[in-house]
């Protein structure tokens, strides 16, 4: 393999294909990047004061994470009254919470050692009591509300709208990548649809696995761009150029994944996803938003063990990811946001679990976050049908990230102006 030749060029050189016209064979993303949101020189910014190489990573905890057993209000007697078996003991006792703030009396789940380390090293911000008015307790409906950032949960996704907005009308390939079988609604804009794959090995033509040796024919057909004889604005031309984009995107992603990461990741579902995202960031992909998700948080019964394992998985995977970014020198470029569609009922149920609830903490991590505990913990006595009343609207967190981190106009993207929070440095 040749070295130091830009990948796209190398691909063109490899193919013995008649190139019709230069424009027709330039992949969309190269053409767009000249005028689109990501300049070729990533250090140059089109928005004063906002570096264009900033990245947002979203981690979704599906099923409704039990916020009260994630950030533990150990100073409250009501907590232990409502959760006689499920309550996590105060710090300093056996299996007790990890201390966060002894004055307010809050700690973290004992398995969140990863988060503890991130907090101690100034890389973790916790937003307490995040929710929205008229909470919906259906998984789907509430998830849609979080994804669309709209009260009805209808329409396209907030990240999709952000990317649409940032690209000045010319779609950007690979602007947003989701790891997983299906892409989240959050990433669907009018113009942009996310790239999504569960496994980079599958982000390519499976026909290569067949014994017939069709590879070179396939490559020739899918890397030629718009062929001679095809009308430039036609559906066929659009497909031919997307085919080329897909091949290049697939190459880039698989090349990125081939490298051994700089730090060891644990062996878990989330860690594997974070490892992939870390690899793509390290490889200088121009993606602005990555999305990872795990489920299993719907702990209606026998919660203690299952939730504890999930806490360990989340804490350890995200610590490894942050350490990877640090080793890459990318930690200040990336903010990671962790959320779930709702928290759980204050009172434990009769099956050793908890039912669907409302407000819960969110987490932000990275070199750019204002580390510490933000917002106020919801009252455990002033409840709404047995559920917490939210103290921070999740759209204020989105708005903060859009305005201050991504350099976008949150008002344009969310439709309403939400006050920013002091979650980021500087």
């Amino acid at each position: 393999m040749e070295t130091n030749t830009p990948l796209t060029r190398r691909i063109f050189l490899q193919q013995g294909v008649t190139l019709a016209s230069l424009v027709a064979t330039i992949p969309w993303f190269l053409e767009n990047s000249a005028m689109g949101m990501l300049s070729a020189d990533r250090r140059v910014s089109s928005l004063a004061g906002v570096p264009e190489d900033r990245i947002l990573v979203v981690v979704q905890l599906g099923g409704g994470n039990d916020g009260l057993n994630t950030i533990i209000p150990y100073g409250s007697d009501d907590y232990y009254r409502q959760r006689p078996q499920l309550g996590i003991p105060a710090p300093g006792t056996n299996n007790g919470a990890l201390e966060l703030d002894s004055k307010i009396g809050i700690g973290m789940h004992p398995n969140l050692l990863g988060f503890k380390e991130l907090m101690d090293s100034g890389r973790l911000a916790i937003v307490q009591g995040v929710g929205y008015p008229n909470p919906n307790r259906s998984h789907f409906a509430s998830m849609d509300i979080w994804h669309t950032a709209k009260a009805q949960g209808r329409g396209n996704g907030w990240i999709g709208r952000y990317v649409d907005n940032a690209c000045n009308g010319s779609p950007q390939a690979d602007a947003e990548i989701a790891i997983g079988r299906t892409a989240p609604l959050a990433m669907f804009g009018d113009l942009h649809k996310p790239v999504s794959f569960e496994n980079a090995k599958l982000f390519q033509w499976t026909g290569k696995e067949l014994p017939s040796g069709l590879d070179s024919s396939y490559e020739a057909m899918n890397r030629a761009g718009a062929l001679e004889g095809v009308a430039p604005g036609s559906q066929a031309a659009f497909l031919m150029r997307t085919a080329l984009d897909a091949q290049l995107s697939s190459d880039r992603i698989r090349i990125a994944m081939d490298k051994t990461p700089l730090v060891a990741y644990p062996n878990s579902q989330l860690a594997t996803q974070m490892k992939s995202i870390g690899a793509m960031i390290r490889d200088q992909m121009k993606t602005r938003v990555y999305y990872a998700s795990i489920s299993g948080f719907d702990t209606h019964g026998g919660q203690a063990g299952a939730h504890g394992n999930l806490m360990r998985q989340v804490g350890d995977a995200l610590l490894a990811f942050q350490n990877d970014l640090k080793a890459q020198g990318n930690e200040s470029r990336v903010v990671t946001m962790v959320f779930s569609e709702f928290g759980r009922r204050v009172k434990q149920n009769a099956s050793g679990g908890t039912d669907h609830g409302t407000a819960a903490p969110m987490f932000l991590m990275g070199g750019g976050v204002q580390a510490g505990v933000h917002g106020t913990h919801p009252s455990l006595t002033d409840l709404d049908q047995g559920d917490l009343k939210f103290t921070s609207d999740f759209r204020c967190v989105y708005a903060t990230l859009l305005d201050q981190w991504m350099g976008a106009s949150s008002k344009k993207i969310l439709g309403v102006s939400y006050p920013n929070m002091k979650l980021l440095r500087g």
Binding site: S212, L227, A350
Partner: protein, 497 residues
């Protein structure tokens, strides 16, 4: 020059290519033998054959094909028991009730998967392709999602409504959809009542279902329409008008004042000219050309002619579809290969055209989801945008890999060679190739491209493929044909129909 005429195609221009175009657009394509049969009918008979599908037998559908009681509402007795348990703080009883509900959720989701498979199988097997194609059209038009309503039987019921009105009367279908439990639930009309009307259904009725966004109505018309719709609700699986919840006062909708109810509201907006124009624009994109911006200014006379016909026929759809499927414009070169296959079209057409085994329906549905079209689960009330929105770098690979799966049994989601190796009988396709080449092996690759691609392949593509077929060696039979088809279906042009 594109021909924009609604006049019928000349007899001399009717041939196998035209028949194939008709069958893919009005249905999901067919085998070479089916296309030959349609060609032999002549255009008029072929169009009538597809339109008057009642004459063709189809698998019966019974109300009892699926369990209508998975989501039966609580009996009054059960409800009072739950209430008592809640008041008494009887956690054990409540947990039992919750467990029952969770179990019900699981059963309902399973039934939804069965209904998805049932419809996909019907799409693949039906002898009435236009009936299913229009059912799919209405599903996207009056988009209702299972994820929101969480009642599989209501989705099945709605699907049947679309099928029974597939090529019927649009005005009639609008009145029926306002009485459809799935729709009433999806757009919250079951919670809309006098004094606090929910505007959801009224808004979408104007914006997405009948008039089209911004077409001559105001926010006030939506508010008044919502008042008219109050009391339109359902009990169990049946529509019910709840007079106590209905706002009986006078309303003014689009300038007409009266004590309107939901039916009156529908009649008022159906009397507007915008309705026929809006619906025909959508039919145009679905059947004729879904390139961005279509129908454009140049197609205006054609689109207006469709709308005029729809008005003249008082919303009867058959005459309008007949006008489309016989028109010179429909068969014009500019409209061949000018739509992008929806994921459902891709799956069903690949099976029906190539004659591959259907493999596993559950896997096909999963692939549909990955490609952006999960039946019964449109992304939102707007339905699927269609056209180029189907295609991005992720879905592009899934589309190619889906074809590999259908052709070879190689799964799109894992490299499992033993997964599904159902033998595919390639002889009909081989025969069709032979009939077009008269035994000249050098013409085989071109014959295959002509059989499978909607768009006439360019010279560059033909040369590429000729060389690929040469490297496979020997005539295009069995394994070599399978390999060649993996390549053809991986061509960007294969996504067109």
């Amino acid at each position: 020059m594109t021909n924009y005429s609604t006049a019928p195609l000349a007899k001399s221009n009717w041939n196998a290519d035209a028949a194939r175009h008709l069958l893919t657009r009005a249905g999901f394509g067919g085998t070479p033998a089916q296309i030959d049969a349609l060609t032999a009918m002549g255009m008029d008979r072929a169009v009538d054959y597809l339109l008057n599908f009642d004459a063709t037998p189809a698998a019966a559908i019974n109300e009892s094909d699926f369990d209508k009681d998975v989501r039966k509402p609580l009996t009054t007795e059960a409800r009072s028991l739950v209430q008592q348990a809640r008041q008494a703080g009887n956690e054990a009883a409540l947990a039992q009730y919750q467990a029952l509900r969770n179990e019900q959720d699981g059963i309902d989701r399973k039934q939804m998967q069965e209904i998805q498979k049932w419809w996909l199988r019907r799409l693949i097997e039906t002898g009435r392709p236009l009936e299913e194609k229009m059912t799919l059209f209405w599903h996207g038009h009056f988009a209702t999602g299972y994820r929101t309503i969480e009642d599989s039987y209501h989705m099945f019921q709605q699907n049947q409504l679309f099928r029974s009105h597939a090529v019927g009367n649009f005005a009639d279908l609008v009145l029926r959809i306002l009485r459809n439990p799935a729709m009433l639930k999806y757009l919250d009309n079951d919670e809309s009542r006098k004094g606090r009307p929910n505007e959801n259904l009224a808004r979408e009725l104007m914006e997405l279902f009948v008039l089209g966004e911004g077409h001559g109505y105001t926010e006030d018309d939506i508010k008044e329409g919502a008042r008219a719709l109050t009391g339109f609700t359902f009990v169990d699986d049946e529509f019910q008008f709840a007079p106590n919840n209905h706002d009986g006062e006078s309303k003014t909708i689009l300038g007409q004042t009266g004590n309107w109810d939901g039916d009156d509201f529908a009649r008022i907006i159906l009397s507007r000219r915008e309705t026929s124009e809006f619906l025909c624009g959508k039919l145009y994109r679905f059947f004729v050309n879904d390139s961005p911006g279509m129908p454009d200014a140049k197609c205006k006379s054609f689109a207006s002619a469709l709308a005029a016909e729809l008005r003249k026929q008082q919303y009867e759809l058959k005459p309008v579809l007949r006008l489309v499927f016989r028109s010179q414009h429909f068969y014009d070169a500019a409209n061949r290969g000018s739509t992008i296959k929806s994921p459902t079209q891709l799956i069903v057409q690949t099976i029906r055209e190539l004659g591959t085994p259907p493999r596993e329906l559950a896997t096909l549905n999963a692939a549909g989801d990955l490609m952006g079209q999960s039946l019964f689960m449109p992304p939102n009330v707007k339905g699927w945008d269609g056209g180029q929105s189907w295609i991005n770098t992720s879905t592009y690979f899934v589309r190619q890999n889906l074809a590999v799966y259908l052709i070879t049994g190689l799964r799109p989601d894992a490299f499992d060679w033993d997964a599904d190796l159902a033998k595919w009988d390639t002889t009909p396709l081989e025969r069709a190739i032979a009939a077009r080449t008269n035994g000249d092996v050098s013409k085989e690759s071109d014959a295959l491209l002509d059989l499978v691609l909607a768009l006439d392949a360019t010279e560059v593509r033909r040369t590429q493929f000729r060389n690929s077929v040469k490297t496979l060696g020997g005539p295009l039979t069995q394994a070599r044909l399978v390999a060649a088809l993996c390549l053809v279906t991986a061509m960007p042009e294969y996504q067109l129909c």
